[in-house]
Each structure stands twice: as structure tokens, then as C-alpha cells.
Amino acid sequence: MAVGSPDQRGALVPTAALSGDSPRVTTAAIAGHWSQAWARLLGDRTAMGAALVIMGMVLAATFAGLIAPYDYAAQNMNNRFATPTAANLLGTDQLGRDVLSRLIYGARVSLSVGVISVGIAVTFGLPAGAIAGYFGGKIDLLLMWLMDLLLAFPGLLLAIAIASALGPSVTNAMIAIGIVNVPRFARLVRSSVLSVRATEFVEAARSIGAGSARIIFLHVLPNILAVVIVRATLALGGAILTEAGLSFIGLGAQPPDPSWGGMLNDGREAIRRASHLATFPGLCIMATVLAFNLLGDGLRDALDPRMKH
């Protein structure tokens, strides 16, 4: 299969769900394809472990009010920098606030930053890439030029610039990170669409007079969905890291609301005196990013069985 021009380099990242097999046409076949993938996923122990961890984080974030032992903003100036004890399982911070409670509430911010920013990236990147890939020509040129523009900015700098311009807040951090990730998704989707478009069944569908929208929705999208899902899962981890990076510059969540990135950043100041203040949020970030990555890997393995023997 001709891979096409260097502009499609994004597709050469081996999400091999595309190369080779012609995807099947009928709805039933598509459904069967998905249910097989689902079965494979359930059998992958690493991925399931990762999914459990993520589920745990999500539950903690959702039911923070019930789980957290203390109010995350409750200060106690007589008990600052406490190391882990029975009363404060993970110790206390510079103002005597309970670290465990702040971590639990922080999960909300960190997870929502991940989800919403990737959501923004997909919401804009997917249609952009699909339209560019499917219709080609001038629209393609214009859209990809726009994407190149965004890509030419160093990612972190662009996020800093946008967040600075919009003002420091979690919402603006999400928007900034989302915008930074749009070109990656657009490029990926475009390459996938280009590959799918070239296959025979789309020709066939067109020859029997199916409209563009129908073709896009029924045939093109389901096949690129796999690629997008995998990439989105991986991008979630990256988004959480970028939020930490923004906190470093002072542009993430605003106090006293905790975020893991913010806690890590604040903890750095006291690292020689009370290392637990940075270590615990650092571990949370690591665990979550690790989990998202392992889950993404598992999804990719499940959606394309040729990877495993």
C-alpha cells in the first residue's frame, strides 16, 4: 500500500489498525470487530490493572467529599510539615493542611485537566483532520497550514503564551493544553482518513451514490476511531504532565484549590526539609500517567491483534 507523501508521516506511527486489511463494510461486521477487541482487552491483565487504577482515581475524585479525611483548606499552624502519622496519613504541608485530603481533591483537577484538554483537542482536531483528509485540495492545504502553524510553536511555550494571555486558572490551562494538542490529532486523523479513503470499499460506496456525509460517518470514522482512542488515552497522561509544567510557571490551578502539579511545585520549595510534600503528588502523577499509558498500549494491542502472537 502506498504510504503517500511525507506529510502523512503521522500515520507511520504504528497504530497498525490501518495498514493491510480492508475494514469491513456492514454494521454487524463492525460491531463484531469491536466486541472481539473488547474481549481481547479484558484478557490483558496489565491493561486491566491500569484500568483499575484509573477507575480508583476517578472514584476518589468523584467522591472526594466522602473519602477525604479533612477539609483540604483547613489550616493548622501548630502542625506544619508533619511527617506521616496516624492522624495525617500522608503528613501535613506548610500550613498544616492534610496532604492526603489535598491529593484526593487534587485528583479532580488533574483528571479533569486531562479529560477536558484532550476532549478539546479531539473535538477540534478530529473534524479538522477528517475534513482535510477526505476532501483534500484547498481545504486540506489551508487546514494543514493552520496545523503547521500551531506545531511550529514549541508546545510548552504555546501553552504558556495562551494561559498567560487568558489569565491563570485551571480552565484556561485546559484550553491552552487542548489547543496545543489539536494539530497532533488533526494530523493523525488526516493520515488515517487518507489511507481509508484510498481503499476499495469507499470507491464502491461512492459508485453506488452514497453521499459524502454518509460515507464519512458510516465507513471512515469507525475505522479511524481506534487510532483516535489510543492516541487520546496516551495524550491524557501528557496533559497531566503539561499541567504540572504550567504550575511551575504559575499558570495552573489557583490556591487554595489543590492540583497535583501545583502540590508538586510547592513541595519542591521544601524538598530538603519535608520531602514527602513533593514525593506524594509526584507519585500520584507518575501512577496516573503510567496507568493511562499502559491502558493505551492495551487498547492498541486489543484493537489490532496482529501485534500479539
Binding site: A2, V3, G4, S5, P6, D7, R9, G10, L12, V13, P14, A16, T46, W145, D148, L149, L151, A152, F153, P154, G155, L156, L157, I160, A161, I162, S164, A165, G167, G237, L241, A244, G245, F248, I249, G261, L264, N265, R268, I271, A278, G282, I285, M286, T288, V289, L290, N293, L294, D297, R300, R306, M307, H309
Partner: protein, 306 residues
């Protein structure tokens, strides 16, 4: 191929114009007045007005933009508000340091990433494989200001093996390169692993084995070569990420590159420097990718120009 190259170069011009315009607009809408920042806590209004007009900041924004473009095409990127030095000079005196760091990080990530990926694929589904995957991802899942600090505390402070910061000898390059390259290494390791797995399952590998070739020859000479094609795609994109990540790494390790310059410039709203840096990085990124594109087209017969 020449036509392809020229087309791309021509398209690069509106791209860079677009980038410079975007930076300009961002500068306008970002709150923060460079004059007030320069004057500090005590900023008498007359002083502020004088300074503002001497820097050309009292002109309407489109005039300022046009001035900027007009001088930029002649190679004059303006004068830094802070140091009063030409921006071009500021950038060029620091860019070699960043390039050095990025190259070292690239070298590190490619070497480590490919080795780990190959080992992982060959020992697929064993403990080594799983461990390698986890380590690779772990390297990717710490913000660089955190991993950098941990490296300094461990290798410089506790063990005393390396200098904590600064630039000068190869020893100074080790920690920053590791901190910066770790996430790229992780990505490369995983992609190498999956594409190695794919190519190891191909017919030609079975054929090679059947012919009686030693396992090492099979792995390296046959499977790896094909596996590297997708990996090389990622490298091009990673250069951009490395140049960007250098911003935080340079701050942590006091590395005298343009990343640190940019952070300071953003702090001070030193617009000429910010514009100059973004333009420089965008140009480097575009040119590098163009060069790599051309090389890739030359090397991989499957790829044609659209």
C-alpha cells in the same frame, strides 16, 4: 524532488509570517506592561511615558507589527527592552548551548530508546519486557523540573559524581541530557518495541531463520531495519518537543540556552526577545523537518510526493 523542496520552502514564508503575527497578537492581549515591569515598584508616570515612547510602544499595534516585519526581513530582530542588546545577538550567543543540549538529549533518547525497545521485543512477554515497559513509561511520567531536581540531588549532591549545574565540560551535559531526553527515550522505546514485534512476525524473518541465520543477525539486520522506519518519523516531531522541553530543563540546570532566555523574556514582557525566539525556533523546526522530509523521501522508496 526539487519542486517539492521549493514548494515547501515557499510555503514556509507565510507560515513564519503567521507565527510572527500570532506571537504579536498574543503579546498584545497578554496583560503586562513591559515599561511598568522595567521601572519596578516605583514607576513615576513621566518616566513611564518617556520610556514607552522611546521603545516605540505608544504606536498603534499594527504599525509596531509592520515595523517589526520590515526589519526582520533585513535580519534585524530589534533590540531587547531589558539589555538593550540586539535580539539577534542575544539569541545567537545562546543558541549553541540549546542545540548542544538538544543534540545530546536526542542522542541519549535514541540510543537508550532503541536498545530498550529491541530487548523488550526480543524478550517479549517476559519479565524483562514488562519491566522495561514500566521503566520506559516512568521516565516519561515525571515533569522535567521534578526529575531534574531528583537527578541533581542524587548524582551531584549525594554521590558527587557530576556537577550540579552549568555548562562547560561533558560532565555538565550528562544530567540535563538525561532529564530532557527521558520522555523521548520512553516514546522511542515503545514504538521500537511495537514495530519490532510487528516485523519479527513477518514472513521474511521466518525465512531468514529458516535459512539458518544466527538469531542476532536476524534481529539486527533484518527485523530492526524495517522497524526503524516508523521510529524515524517520531524523531522529527520530537525535535520540536526537545527544543520546547529545554525551557524547563535549562532553568533547573542553569543551562545558558535560549529556553531560559525565553522564560525571562516572557517574565519581563521583553517582546522583541520573545518574538525573536519564537521566530527562531519556528524557523529551525520548519527547516529541520523539511530537511528530514527530503532525506526520508530519498531513503524510503515507498514514499512519493503528493
Amino acid at each position: 524532488m526539487l519542486r517539492y523542496a521549493i514548494t515547501k520552502l515557499v510555503l514556509a514564508v507565510p507560515l513564519l509570517l503567521g507565527v510572527s503575527f500570532a506571537v504579536f497578537v498574543l503579546g498584545q492581549i497578554t496583560p503586562g506592561d513591559p515599561v511598568i515591569i522595567m521601572l519596578g515598584e516605583r514607576a513615576p508616570p513621566d518616566e513611564a511615558t518617556r520610556l514607552r515612547s522611546s521603545l516605540g510602544l505608544d504606536l498603534p499595534w499594527y504599525q509596531q507589527y509592520l515595523r517589526f516585519v520590515a526589519s526582520a526581513v533585513q535580519g534585524d530582530l530589534g533590540i531587547s527592552y531589558r539589555s538593550k542588546l540586539p535580539v539577534f545577538h542575544e539569541l545567537m550567543s545562546r543558541f549553541p548551548a540549546t542545540a548542544e543540549l538538544a543534540s545530546a538529549a536526542l542522542l541519549f533518547s535514541v540510543t537508550l530508546g532503541i536498545s530498550m525497545g529491541v530487548i523488550s521485543a526480543v524478550k517479549h512477554n517476559t519479565l524483562i519486557d514488562r519491566l522495561a515497559v514500566v521503566v520506559a513509561i516512568a521516565g516519561n511520567s515525571m515533569p522535567v523540573f521534578w526529575s531534574g531536581l531528583l537527578l541533581i540531588l542524587l548524582l551531584a549532591l549525594t554521590l558527587g559524581w557530576l556537577p550540579a549545574s552549568g555548562r562547560g565540560s561533558p560532565a555538565h551535559l550528562v544530567m540535563p541530557a538525561i532529564a530532557l531526553g527521558a520522555s523521548a527515550a520512553a516514546l522511542i522505546a515503545r514504538i521500537t518495541r511495537s514495530s519490532m514485534l510487528e516485523s519479527l512476525g513477518q514472513d521474511y524473518v521466518r525465512t531468514a531463520r529458516a535459512k539458518g541465520l544466527g538469531e542476532q543477525a536476524v534481529v539486527i539486520r533484518h527485523a530492526l531495519r524495517n522497524a526503524l522506519i516508523p521510529v524515524s518519523t517520531v524523531v522529527g516531531l520530537e525535535i520540536g518537543a526537545l527544543l520546547a522541553g529545554a525551557v524547563l530543563t535549562e532553568t533547573v540546570f542553569a543551562w545558558p540556552g535560549i529556553g531560559r532566555l525565553t522564560v525571562q523574556a516572557i517574565d519581563q514582557r521583553d517582546f522583541p526577545v520573545i518574538r525573536g525566539t519564537v521566530l527562531l525556533v519556528a524557523t529551525v523546526f520548519t527547516l529541520t523537518n523539511l530537511a528530514l522530509d527530503l532525506l526520508l523521501v530519498k531513503l524510503d522508496p515507498r514514499i512519493k510526493y503528493s
